[in-house]
Amino acid sequence: MKFSVLVSEGPYTHEAADTAYNFTKAALDKGHEIFRVFFYHDGVNNGTRLASPPQDDRNITARWTALAKEHDLDLVLCVAAAQRRGIADADEAKRNGKDADNIAEGFRISGLGQLIEAGIEADRLVTFGD
């Protein structure tokens, strides 16, 4: 079956970010297709490469990056939400006159339409939030 996943909260602060990952991984392991994982609200904060969590805990961003590489996952950060919260790729940084970017490998920034499309194209859309 084809799933889409919506992640609405940032890493570490709310368990939603963990549950979304564990769900996505289980779905892939069972042979389901993940059409897209869309990050909205504070969810975009999952896509920063500047985090250095404690060594004895999980690295949420690195985990997504690895899963994306392994399964060719489409990890999309909402551009409007990312602009509000300071998550940028090189293009966004340039366009907004910023001197640095912070997006992690495996993530891309795109519009909210990608969430609607994720709902339309998948058989199921599951939301993880606060």
Partner: protein
């Protein structure tokens, strides 16, 4: 519209205390371009989103409540507000913004977008959807 999916946007949170009400509205506006069958539900503290005369000047944040008025222009005109949620909060329909749309099937007559429904009716509306997005 036969291939259209039924999208319900569920709003359960008060405005301004958190960003969910505002960012939910942004999804609805973008989603309107996709020609799906769209409904909005306001229940629990979500009914506070539609209260009229919001004035954010002293708070110093953007007042996004006028945007609800634009929903009719985007063909978003099925706006369900839960009766029990209003009553628990001492509100009536008169406390809310008057949201309307022009009905193209009825000579563009101006009609009310808001329909007050009971929790039982809202439960059936939720059950009849293809996609339920919660904020």
């Amino acid at each position: 519209m036969s291939d259209a999916k039924r999208f319900l946007y569920v709003n359960r949170k008060a405005p301004y205390g958190t960003i969910y009400a505002l960012e939910s509205l942004e999804v609805v506006l973008i989603g309107a371009a996709f020609e799906q069958d769209v409904s909005l539900a306001f229940l629990d503290d979500g009914v506070f989103e539609l209260v009229k005369d919001q004035n954010t000047e002293e708070l110093g944040v953007k007042n996004f409540s006028p945007t609800y008025k634009a929903l009719g222009d985007y063909d978003v005109n099925k706006i369900y507000v839960e009766k029990e949620s209003l009553e628990a909060r001492g509100l009536t329909i008169d406390d809310l913004q008057h949201l309307t749309y022009e009905d193209e099937d009825d000579d563009w007559a101006e009609k009310d977008s808001i329909r007050v429904v009971t929790a039982a009716e809202l439960a059936e509306i939720m059950e009849a959807q293809d996609i339920v997005l919660s904020f």
